[in-house]
């Protein structure tokens, strides 16, 4: 079927509709749908033929005359894909627009048909003047479709658009006629050939000016910042189904038009495209930060995404074969997601971002929302992810760091407001409104979701890097989406079985290091999941999120190349975000988690891209061979990325809230397991790159300091917490600091100790979070001073906490001591004295906060309201008891795990190993015999206990009201509690160290961004004439900047 039929059918049907009686609306509507479907089918047919290679690109001649004497069209791969996008968007929009079109009659349907046809025409035509004609058709039909809106403000928005498009068409016509004069042709390829040959006047003097006018007029349709106020008004006020067309179809068509025009302009204009595209991308994303209306926010996001693709067009010269893959990936992900979000907004009656909270009652729509957000941000498995990866590599290989940096910055800001919005949907109070669940509307949204996933699969296949969607762990995680109707207990059993099975399958492939991480992630994950048996009902959304995180972790440790590593990293980030967001009050914390994590992920992406220098696939081992020029930058970027996950001081502010507000069984997952991903990254980084110098500064030494400071400050902050879970969360910062410190020592024992921390931290942090969670479940509070005397009511929890604390504080006999012992040995063999002192200091501080857990929760006076409490639920206690058993076992036989690892580490650091003889471990500085220690401690314990029992015999029990209160009831009763502000004296002495400087710093940055947004948005006054001013000013400024620097 000739592609020209797409145009002919669109037009013919539009004319036919005018012939129909106005009362036959249903018939007219059906004809419209059929016509759009046929147009889509023709495009799909071509796409299939072109991509399967059964036919090549074809030229379609009109009037039986060859170009340039007659207009010709071209149907190639890009054209087919874009035409399909446009026609399908038109078709789906027509379905969505059923009510308004039935109300307004056949004319509105004709206008939609012509709009779709003209966007397709813009893509297909190879003639500049024909391009102008289709553009004007698009403008006029836009002017008509805007009026389909129920929003009365759409009228003024449409008029503003018409004003600006008048100016645009003036420039376009002048540009075209002078190009014709300079090149003697109106055919794009003719003009391009002439300008490329350089032998004509096309790009000299007036020819260059003519091209500038053509170019800037076409660029105006991309809604460049700041000449885009009109577009935002349309986005906000038009019918959402039309906004979907405007964003997806019109955006794609305009981009392709500019791309064609650049054939004439040649490479000299690519930097201009880059500059306009990037400034639009960043500025629109910043402006979106302060939006409160969903459709306007989506408008800003659309403007930004189109700007991004334009910036990619600006990189055309270096992308080569990858150009279509990258630009297409970003564009299609944007188009599908944006259209989907607009359609979704069409099912909601209210415009505030927070009113999307209504979606939480509809898991399927929430899933759609999540998919669209992930698509826009460029997370796996969607096309934008692969495109972003390839783009970053191409840019880094060519040294275009500024472009790369700005793209990542803009993407991060975009992720920030999109995930904030998603948080609203899940956590805010839903207003009293009804979601419009009409089948045709929801159907259209779901088609967009399916298209997004399908494109993700396709792009994965085309990437040549490995298709994320064929990874077994990910498929397993996604299968929980389909299983979400099952009771939680059944899903839990499946999840546990899956983790264990995957471990058994992949076990043989692990080296000792990976084995340790593998056991913690998979087996450890399964143990924590035991606690999830406690929950009832279906627990919608929990399992897909949790298993997504586990899938990412499982994929992370088997990743061989940088792409696999990064894909896994993003998957685990996304999964853990959803998981953290489930907590009752975790909305802001989950947001800061995802923003920090994605910032870290982007740093990792940039690091890998710089390291690879264009080589793909890039094995992780290859990090060892990075040239000295790039090595320090790679090191810094990767280390910064991993530090966001280990919550090193400075990048830690997301952690306390995220871990403390998570659900009872989620806290151990995100603390005990998730943090290890960062440590694993550090292992890989240091194993391959080792010591790296940056302007004479030893980077591992910097890490050493960061680790030491994290340990000190994390512990310090922990001692001042009143909330038990928050206390544990802060202590994780300290613990990760220790591990980082150990790694940065860059010696055998340091690494062994870090691994010891990996294991220990998992065990005791999971255990403590579970016990505290179980207690909080029973008492209904996490504040320690509200508890007390629970030792007799919850003895098992007490034992768990006691054992955990002993293990964690590093006193004999439990494994924490082993860790400490190795640690001190490690320090002895290093010469970093000052950080060493800091690390020593933080040890006792850890004991202070741990003491509070036992002291305040379990000892002291039982609160009246807690008298009838029972022990924590069985399923929460069970994993704790397993951990207790493990800790004791590990304390006696640390060699079980460490011996093999020790030998393995010997291959990196041959000297300073440990000697393992029987049950005794010897280092250069002394020996450690776990069994004897256990015996000694046991003897001491039994003696002391006997002594206490003996003393207790004579003790006098103090009754609650034995104490006389003679004062008024204080204003804040908790202030009189002895456990409140327990370490006030220390706070006086050391409190200055815990000033929230870092929080203020990051708060200042977001505040500045929001302030900039609020200031800049005043620029958009809403006055159509001012918008025309903006455009004319934009033209003049681009002219001065681009032509001024040109000869």
């Amino acid at each position: 079927m000739s592609p020209i039929l797409i145009i002919a059918i669109g037009l013919g049907t539009a004319f036919l509709l005018a012939f129909l009686d106005n009362r036959l609306r249903a018939t007219a509507y059906a004809i419209t749908l059929v016509a759009l479907a046929v147009m889509s089918w023709i495009a799909a047919d071509w796409l299939f033929a072109l991509s399967s290679g059964s036919t090549g690109p074809v030229e379609i001649f009109t009037a039986g005359t060859k170009p340039p004497f007659a207009i010709n069209l071209r149907m190639g791969l890009a054209e087919a894909a874009l035409t399909l996008l446009i026609t399908v968007t038109g078709l789906l929009a027509a379905v969505f627009l059923k009510e308004p079109m039935m109300r307004l009659g056949r004319r509105s349907m004709a206008v939609l048909l012509i709009a779709t046809m003209s966007f397709a025409g813009i893509v297909l035509t190879r003639d500049v003047f024909n391009l102008f004609v289709f553009f004007e058709l698009a403008v006029i039909s836009t002017g008509g479709l805007v009026l389909l809106s129920d929003d009365a403000r759409a009228l003024s928005a449409g008029f503003k658009y018409l004003i600006v498009s008048q100016v645009i068409s003036i420039l376009l016509l002048i540009g075209i006629i002078f190009l014709y004069h300079a090149g003697g042709s109106l055919n794009i390829d003719d003009l391009a050939a002439a300008s490329a040959a350089g032998n004509s006047t096309v790009l000299l003097k007036s020819g260059a000016l003519a091209f500038f006018l053509l170019f800037i007029a076409l660029v105006a349709e991309l809604k460049p910042f700041p000449a885009n106020g009109w577009a935002l008004d349309i986005y906000e006020s038009a019918h959402p189904a039309f906004s979907a067309i405007f964003s997806a179809a019109a955006g794609a068509a305009s981009l392709y038009a500019v791309d064609k025009a650049l054939l004439i302009g040649g490479p000299a204009w690519l930097p201009v495209a880059t500059a306009i595209g990037l400034s639009t991308f960043v500025a629109a994303n910043v402006l979106a930060l302060s939006q409160t209306s969903d459709r306007r926010l989506l408008g800003y996001s659309s403007v930004a995404q189109i700007g991004l693709v334009f910036a990619v067009i600006g990189q055309k010269d270096l992308l080569g074969d990858q150009y279509l893959f990258i630009a297409g990936g970003i564009l299609l992900a944007h188009a599908v997601a944006k259209a989907g979000l607009y359609w979704l907004s069409g099912t909601l009656p209210e415009r505030a971002l927070t009113s999307w909270a209504e979606l939480k009652h509809h898991p399927v729509l929430l899933f759609a929302f999540a998919s669209f957000v992930a698509m826009l941000v460029g997370l796996p498995p969607f096309p934008g992810f692969y495109a972003k990866w390839q783009l970053a590599h191409a840019l880094a290989a060519d040294g275009r760091y500024l472009v790369l940096g700005l793209i990542l910055l803009g993407a991060l800001i975009e992720a920030g407001y999109l995930f904030r919005w998603f948080g609203y949907a899940l956590k805010r109070e839903a207003p009293a409104q009804q979601v419009d669940l009409s089948l045709h509307k929801i159907g259209v949204v779901l088609i967009a979701v399916a298209a997004g996933w399908g494109l993700g699969y396709l792009w994965g296949d085309l990437s040549g890097l490995g298709n994320v969607l064929t990874a077994l762990p990910l498929l397993f995680a996604l299968s929980f989406l389909a299983l979400d109707w099952l009771p939680a207990k059944v899903k839990n059993a499946i999840a546990i079985a899956g983790l264990v099975a995957w471990f058994l399958v992949s076990y043989p492939g692990y080296d000792p290091l990976r084995l340790i991480f593998g056991v913690i992630i998979l087996i450890g994950g399964a143990v924590i999941l035991l606690a999830s048996f406690e929950t009832h009902g279906r627990r919608i959304g929990f399992y897909p999120s949790a298993m997504l995180m586990y899938a990412g972790l499982a994929m992370l440790i088997v990743a061989e190349d940088s792409f696999g590593f990064f894909a896994a990293w993003e998957i685990l980030t996304l999964g853990s975000y959803f998981l953290i967001l489930r907590g009752k009050k975790s909305e802001p914390h989950a947001l800061s988690y995802i923003v920090f994590s994605l910032g870290g992920a982007f740093a990792i992406l940039a690091g890998f891209a710089v390291a690879a220098q264009g080589t793909q696939p890039f094995a992780l081992q290859g990090l060892a061979d990075v040239s000295a020029t790039f090595a320090p930058y790679v090191f810094i970027l990767l280390a910064a990325g991993f530090m966001t996950k280990t919550a090193a001081i400075g990048l830690h502010i997301w952690l306390p809230g995220a871990h403390a507000e998570a659900e009872t069984d989620v806290s151990p997952m995100v603390s005990g397991i998730l943090l290890k991903a960062g440590l694993y990254g550090f292992f890989i980084l240091l194993m391959t790159m080792g010591k790296t110098q940056f302007y004479g500064v030893e980077l591992t030494y910097v890490l050493l300091w960061i680790g030491a400071l994290s340990a000190l400050l994390g512990n310090l902050m922990a001692i001042f917490q009143e909330d038990a879970k928050r206390l544990l969360a802060y202590s994780s910062i300290g613990q990760m600091g220790y591990a980082l410190f150990g790694l940065a020592l860059m010696n055998h024992l340091g690494w062994l100790m870090a691994l010891m921390f990996v294991i220990n931290h998992y065990v005791y942090k999971s255990m403590l979070f579970l016990s505290v969670g179980g207690i909080a479940k029973r008492t209904g509070t996490k504040l320690m001073y509200r508890m007390g005397g629970l030792i007799t009511l919850m003895p098992l929890s007490f034992i768990a906490v006691l054992v955990g604390i002993i293990a964690m504080s590093g006193v004999p006999p439990l494994s924490g001591f082993g860790g400490r012992w190795i640690f001190y040995n490690a320090i002895m063999s290093s010469d970093a004295r000052l950080p060493m002192v800091i690390i020593f200091l933080s040890g006792p501080i850890a004991f202070l906060y741990l003491f509070r857990l036992i002291h305040t929760i379990f000892l002291g006076q039982l609160k009246d309201e807690h008298r009838r409490l029972k022990e924590a639920p069985f399923w929460i206690v069970l994993p704790q008891m397993l951990f207790v058993a493990f800790l004791i076992g590990f304390a006696i036989f640390p060699g079980l795990a460490l011996r093999r690892v020790d030998a393995y580490l010997g291959s990196f650091f041959p000297s300073h190993g440990l000697a393992w003889e029987g049950l005794t471990i010897t280092s250069e500085y002394g020996y450690w015999s776990p069994v004897s220690i256990m015996i000694v401690v046991a003897v001491i314990f039994v003696v002391l206990l006997a002594w206490l029992v003996f003393l207790n015999h004579r003790a006098q029990k103090v009754k609650q009201f034995n104490i006389v209160f003679a004062a008024e009831r204080p204003y804040r009763p908790e202030t009189t509690h002895f456990a409140w502000n327990f370490f006030a004296p220390y706070r006086k002495a050391l409190g200055f160290l815990t000033e929230p400087l870092v929080t203020r710093f990051w708060g200042g940055i977001t505040g500045t961004l929001h302030g900039t947004a609020d200031l800049t948005r005043r620029f958009y006054t809403g006055d159509g004439q001012v918008y025309a001013f903006h455009f004319v000013g934009f033209v003049v400024i681009v002219y001065l900047l681009s032509m001024g620097v040109r000869p």
Partner: protein, 118 residues
């Protein structure tokens, strides 16, 4: 000579744009754009003009054989017709919009239609 008409065309465009950018009244803006469009059309036809030649219609005065030496460039003539018609379409659309805008607020002052902004 041809430069004069072209310069006049450009001047009309600038005048039209000045009018459109400084007049608050919607109808005046539309008229101003019409002036600018006229300027564009004038520039368009100027570009195709060749001194001393005639209209591109073949008849007794312009035989087919030496048409190439006798006629002016027909392409801009064809383009200008399209441009005129399109300009007319947009003007009609803007007028309809103006009518509706007036109906909603009883004013034609463009600066009064700023409920969408920021």
């Amino acid at each position: 000579m041809i430069l004069v008409s072209m310069a006049a065309g450009f001047l009309l465009i600038l005048m039209g744009l000045y009018g459109a950018l400084t007049n608050r009244n919607i109808l005046r803006m539309i008229v101003a754009f019409t002036i600018a469009s006229t300027g564009v059309n004038l520039v368009l036809v100027s570009v195709g003009y060749l001194a001393g030649r005639t209209a591109p219609i073949l008849d007794a005065a312009v035989p087919v054989a030496d048409a190439a030496e006798r006629i002016i460039d027909p392409v801009p003539q064809a383009l200008v017709l399209t441009a005129i018609v399109i300009g007319l379409g947009i003007t009609a659309l803007m007028l309809a919009y103006a009518f509706k805008l007036y109906e909603t607020k009883r004013t034609l002052d463009i600066s009064k239609f700023t409920e969408l902004k920021g």
